[in-house]
């Protein structure tokens, strides 16, 4: 890493750490934790979608499982929702293996189709299954019985929990990027046939990436439902949950370490702005905006802002030096 990049990362970390002190209003904190949560799930998607190039458009299935399990465990046993997090992770791993084993025979568009179909199947099924609250969904403890229920009236603790998890996800991604595993993922993304001729076990490597990605996505889902104390089929498994991860990662730069975080900062701010300007009716507009942004990225800058930056930054340095 160059010195400039290191300084940039330190600066970003400092801003994220100090954000609650700088903007103490509940609204600003809410936006802050929404950015972090979006960054966590998009970074998780990035492992399999960005690095390995397997475009899942159904990652909502892992998010949803992670979101449902804490509240389900709470409703059934009365245990704190936190107890459901590992169960959600375990289920997500199983789901990832069930999907990955056969679906990784499928390439490109086929894989995307398969992931949408499974996510939609689970969403519709959840909506009809009384045991998990059918269309109404599930609720967490209304009033916390102790700190372990993680129901804080203040936003600040959530903000720092999310920040901590994001740091872990990014650290794992960073290590992955520099390891044999990360190198293999990028090789697979580029050319599966060449990768396997060099000794890469393509299907196994993809499966590992999907499992890792599913684990973090599931954790993101759990954080979401524990914080809001509520989940229904749409907010857990809905297609827009999946889409949001893809668009955030693609906007910032799929396959880059900080792309999803940058994408989350931009997209969530934009979403908040449209919702504030247009009131409740703004949500429809948000999705029109999503669609428009996705189309524009695909058409003009498929590498996202990261690729754009890579292209223009050498020119910037040069012009500065010349000046």
């Amino acid at each position: 890493m160059s010195r400039n990049v290191k300084l940039g990362i330190l600066g970003l970390a400092a801003i994220l750490l100090l954000y609650p002190l700088l903007f103490s209003g509940a609204f600003a904190l809410n936006v802050g934790s929404a950015v972090l949560l979006a960054a966590i799930s998009a970074s998780a998607w990035n492992i399999v979608g960005g690095y390995a190039g397997q475009i899942s458009v159904g990652h909502g299935m892992f998010f949803g499982v992670g979101a449902y399990l804490p509240l389900l465990i709470y409703q059934i046993t009365g245990l704190p929702p936190l107890a459901g997090v590992p169960v959600g992770i375990a289920l997500s791993i199983i789901l990832a293996i069930i999907i990955g084993l056969p679906a990784f025979r499928l390439r490109g568009h086929y894989f995307s189709m398969a992931t949408i179909a499974v996510a939609e199947l689970i969403r519709i099924f959840t909506g009809t299954w009384e045991y998990v609250g059918a269309a109404i969904g599930l609720q967490g403890p209304a009033v916390g019985r102790g700190w372990w229920d993680l129901t804080f009236r203040d936003e600040t603790p959530y903000y720092y929990i999310f920040l901590g998890v994001l740091a872990v996800v990014l650290y794992v991604t960073y290590e992955l990027q520099r390891s044999r595993f990360g190198s293999y993922l990028r090789a697979i993304k580029s050319d599966e046939r060449a990768a396997s001729s060099l000794g890469v076990s393509v299907r196994m490597t993809k499966l590992k990436a999907l499992v890792l990605s599913a684990i973090f996505t599931s954790i993101a889902g759990s954080l979401y439902s524990i914080k809001t104390g509520f989940v229904d089929p749409e907010s857990g498994f809905g297609i827009l949950v999946s889409v949001q991860m893809v668009i955030i990662a693609a906007l910032g730069g799929a396959g880059s370490l900080f792309g999803p975080l940058v994408g989350a900062i931009i997209l969530v701010s934009l979403q908040t702005a449209t919702n504030t300007w247009f009131g409740g009716g703004g949500s429809g507009l948000t999705y029109i905006l999503y669609g428009g942004i996705i189309v524009l990225i695909a058409r003009y800058e498929p590498g996202g802002l990261y690729e754009y930056w890579q292209r223009i930054s050498p020119r910037l340095w040069r012009s500065r030096r010349a000046a």
Partner: protein, 286 residues
């Protein structure tokens, strides 16, 4: 007798599925490209029909043609402004392009037409016909038959005409087609026009009998995927059989299990198919 009626009803709806699915399969066969916005084309066809009836009046013939022509134009514009460019790009760009388009169209429709369920005003196609003891609404009967005729027509266009052989030549080998003086870009634009046009007219035909809202596109898009997977990627006759089979299975599962299960059954079929036979039931193994 009721069961027989359910079966015929399912097949008639399945015929319309076949029509819009054949558009999706045409694009796939031509350029190995899945259009995630295909269901939204069907939805747009429905609203074009509604707008035509509201502002121009006229009967089913007029609004079906209007939906077909409008969507044909939209398909070509989308190809020229978007698809042509992302085809050369990475996989992510290809998938995102039509995915974003689907969101854009779906929520623009919400914005413009609201989420309310609407239906076309009663047309001349009202009334019930009795075919050998099976009671069928006239509108469904006509729509189903027209859909089958159009799907077969599309197949004949592809296999029996000069323009069809040029289309298939591009699908077979782009470079060889270019050497033969065919311009692949034009042929692919035509394919997108035909695909969107068939989706548009299918939407209009369905709108005659069924109420709709902007969210229907998602379900139709997935239904078309199922049909294309089942029938074999790129095969119009395959899409026809698959469309009919899906319509039938949906009708039967709604009849036996209850209406909420009809979509679950379709999605589950899709997932199972992708697992077991990714190349499609009637498609060739590659």
């Amino acid at each position: 007798m009721l069961l027989l009626q359910v079966i015929v009803g399912g097949l008639l709806l399945g015929a319309i599925y076949a029509l819009f699915s054949s558009g999706l399969t045409l694009i796939w066969g031509m350029m190995n490209f899945i259009n995630f916005a295909h269901g939204e084309f069907v939805m747009l066809g429905m609203y074009v029909a509604l707008l035509t009836v509201t502002y121009l009046g006229g009967g089913p013939v007029l609004f079906s043609l209007s939906a077909a022509v409008t969507l044909y134009g939209i398909g070509i514009i989308i190809y020229l402004t978007l698809i042509r460019h992302v085809m050369k790009g990475p996989m992510l760009a290809q998938i995102l392009s039509t995915f974003g388009l689907a969101l854009l169209l779906r929520y623009a429709a919400f914005w413009i037409f609201s989420a309310n369920v609407v239906s076309l005003p009663q047309t001349t196609l009202s009334g019930i016909v009795d075919v050998g003891g099976i009671l069928m609404p006239m509108s469904q009967l006509v729509a189903g038959v027209v859909a089958i005729v159009l799907t077969v027509g599309l197949h004949l266009l592809l296999t029996r005409t000069n323009i069809g052989s040029r289309l298939l030549a591009v699908a077979e080998d782009r470079n060889a087609a270019m050497l033969m003086g065919i311009r692949p870009d034009r042929m692919q634009a035509l394919a997108w026009g035909l695909a969107a046009g068939s989706a548009g007219i299918a939407g209009a035909l369905m709108a005659i009998s069924y109420p709709f809202s902007p969210s229907v596109g998602e379900t139709f898009g997935l239904t078309a995927f199922v049909a294309v997977t089942l029938g074999g990627f790129g095969s119009v006759p395959g899409a026809l059989y698959a469309g009919l089979i899906i319509g039938l299975i949906q009708a039967l599962s709604a009849y036996w299990l209850g209406a909420i299960y009809k979509d679950i059954v379709v999605y589950a079929m899709f997932a199972a198919l992708l697992w077991l036979r990714p190349q499609g039931l009637m498609g060739k193994a590659s």
